[in-house]
């Protein structure tokens, strides 16, 4: 029942696709992290947890 896809094909796919996925994902994450307009959002976020008031905004 497992002969629909050959073992060698799957192994080949595993070896190549994983690498491609790694590279693409790295690029996407680096772009996201270093996107210039995101700078302010990140700065605000890292400062946000240090605010004094200890109650919900609503």
């Amino acid at each position: 029942m497992m002969t629909i896809v050959a073992h060698d094909t799957l192994v080949w796919f595993a070896k190549t696709f994983g690498l491609i996925y790694l590279v693409v994902l790295s690029v996407v994450v680096l772009c996201y992290a270093f996107w210039p307009s995101k700078q302010k959002e990140f700065d605000d976020a890292s400062a946000s947890i240090l605010k004094k008031e200890d109650r919900p905004w609503q």
């Binding site: 497992m2 896809v5 073992h7 799957l10 994983g18």
Partner: protein, 244 residues
């Protein structure tokens, strides 16, 4: 307000989906090909399934946590092969649901324990390991000799094993209770049924030395004596061993 809410939700769900996408790939890519491994792995036509008594013993092995200290996986390293015997093949554990390869050797590997010691040695060793190996730190398992083996659920155990892919026949499932008794009582009428269903090479013995009843000791010793003996494939495999 609704619009903001919607946007916020979308971010949180987007994050979740991104996590799933990033995290699932590695597992899929590595595990999926293994389900086609039958195409490449060595065949073992002589491979037999565990008898009900051995399967019950295996359940006891799991229940007592033996796998925490004993591995059942001899690696392809020269010293391991010299110490324990031919290295383990994938096919040897193909009926092991779940596998018991283990991850720690506080005690030695026991993948090829079967036939190495007598039944009597195992019984004494399990009742108090220090009687036979004075410096051993293995726990004593005295209750195995006291507990009668539970047999009422064995047909169900075999049926569940078949459901996950082990080729037990209807006949094996129906006779599980009788086969347990037969394998541990060679003089009984039920003994012949065991060898007819599981093969002539099946060990039919008075494992715990007590003919009165079938104990958990019978089951565990029967299991320990079959380790590495379900197939002969490993001793025929002559591939080179890696040296460090």
């Amino acid at each position: 307000m609704f619009k903001l809410h919607y946007k916020l939700e979308r971010r949180a769900i987007g994050l979740t989906l991104a996590i799933i996408a990033a995290a699932s790939i590695g597992g899929i890519v590595e595990i999926a090909p293994l389900f086609t491994i039958d195409q490449t792995v060595e065949a073992a036509p002589d491979m037999r399934v565990y008898t009900p008594l051995e399967l019950a013993g295996r359940n006891i092995y799991m229940r007592e946590g033996c796998y925490a200290c004993h591995s059942q996986m001899i690696r392809t390293l020269r010293d391991e092969v010299d110490r324990y015997g031919p290295y383990s093949l994938a096919v040897e554990s193909k009926y092991d649901h779940p596998m018991l390869w283990g991850s720690k050797r506080t005690g030695p590997d026991i993948a090829r324990l079967g036939g190495k010691y007598s039944d009597e040695w195992h019984v004494r060793h399990l009742i108090n390991p220090r009687d036979v190996v004075p410096v051993s730190i293995m726990p004593a398992y005295g209750w195995l000799m006291d507990n009668a083996l539970r047999t009422d659920d064995l047909s169900g155990q075999l049926a569940a094993q078949r459901a996950v892919g082990v080729p037990y026949t209807d006949e094996m499932i129906a006779n599980a209770g009788a086969d347990v008794y037969g394998q541990a009582n060679p003089d009984s009428a039920a003994a012949a049924g065991v060898t007819s269903r599981y093969g002539e090479a099946t060990t039919v013995r008075l494992f715990d030395g007590d003919p009165q009843r079938v104990t958990e000791m019978d089951a565990l010793v029967a299991y320990l004596q079959i380790l590495g003996k379900l197939t002969d494939a490993a001793s025929q495999d002559t591939a080179a061993v890696e040296t460090q």
